[in-house]
Symmetry: C7
Subunit: 97 residues, 7 copies
């Protein structure tokens, strides 16, 4: 079965958040609501870049980049049962390598 | 009987929201107020694009595109008994394919 | 007796709101305060267009256009006993045809 | 005795509000606080126009124009005992003729 | 003894407010807190003008001009025991003559 | 021992506030919290100027200038035990001479 | 083991805050919550600079610079167990030398 695909508009990127750790270091399983919201993820799709006064601004991130983003950035969407975030490139703080 | 037609102005688009699921997976019918507001819809009409400092910015979506949008985006209007949303292209997060 | 005339400034338009239905489908007359504020109207006069950095932006609506606008758009004015709205073109969502 | 004169700066206009009706149609005199604040007035003096990025934007109203403005527009000033309003041209909705 | 001098920066002006009337027309002396804050004053010093995108915008007021300004405009400063206001030219409504 | 040095960025200036008077005219020593926060100070270091659309805007103040600033302007920093303020040039009202 | 690396986007910088003093001058150890949040740090990585209307604005800080920043600037991130801040260059007040 083919997966749904999202083509983000403007300078938006579709990010798959990294799963939060489900166990503490001592092995205790953290119930779902206590888990820290992840701030790291992988770019799954990137828009074409925003247009400013008729000039297109190139994107600085691309598919596959592992990125850091602020805790409350983006809009959560569910795609084929998985959770994603759509955010503007300006919400991405940096690329992790 | 001919249907009413809306020509959106500037960078606005007329979107027909996808109907929310009316049954849960176990077959229980959800009463109207408990249904999640849909965030997916189909572009029914798109404006000519916004003018910025005398330059027209082309639209990135067109009639027929299936789009994702934020939960509280747009203005609800009723046309011939059907519910639509008029929103700015900037409220559209991405195109679904 | 000649009617008063308004020449809207900048990108403003003078809109005559469509009268709200005064009867429900079952024939009950709705008292004035319960009537839904109309969101549809007819452009009675349009300004010359707004000037942005020395460039005049042409208007997208003209006299006679039937338009949709947001519920709280515009300033209400009374002219020769009739109610009108003066709003900016940016408050007009689309043209109905 | 010569009257004081105000030369408004930038895109401001000095407006003399139209006196509110002091009698209702049945002849009852309305006490001062119950009178509706007028929204119509006459331009007594107009500034030279605002400068935007080095370009002067010409004024759309001139001395003598009868104008409509929003209820809370402008700053009230008293000149030789008379009440006036100084407002920006952007606060003027239209010219009445 | 030489007086202190202020050279306002950008598009700021130093204004000496006109003293509020200390007696009512019937000769009663008004205690200090009941006096209306003056809205008229004299320009004592004017800045060189603000720079916008590399272009200097000339000032519209000059030393000696009697000006009108909004009630809460400017920052109060005390210079050699006298009260002054430093405000932006945009806070000045007009020139009185 | 060499003193620490700050090179302000953009259009910021490092200002040493003038010490508030510690005695009233009658010789009573004012406890620390009752002293009025000074609004006058001396520029100790000035940034290179802000860049606007690729053009550098020259600074209007320089090291050694005695300046006036608003009561709540700037960020307080402690350098080698002394209190300073770092503020944007736009927070400086004028130069005192 | 190689350390993680962050490449900040746009005009962002990755700053390693200077550890707050853990003892008062009299030798008392301050519990963790009473420590003043440091406002000084070292630039660990700097972005390429922000793009404004198609023009890239060069950065004024570089790796290794010791910088001052406002108390609530930046987003805290944890990298390999160490605390860092990612902030915009505009949040940096000056360079310490």
């Amino acid at each position: 079965m083919a997966k749904s695909k999202i083509k983000p508009l403007s300078d938006r990127v579709l990010v798959q958040p990294e799963p939060a750790e489900e166990k503490t270091s001592s092995g205790i399983i953290i119930p779902d609501t206590a888990k820290e919201k992840p701030q790291e993820g992988t770019v799954v799709a990137a828009g074409p870049g925003k247009v400013e006064n008729g000039t297109k601004i190139d994107m600085s991130v691309k598919e596959g980049d592992k990125v850091l983003y602020g805790k409350y950035s983006g809009t959560e969407i569910t795609l084929d049962g998985d959770e994603y975030l759509i955010m503007r490139e300006a919400d991405i703080l940096g690329i992790v390598s």
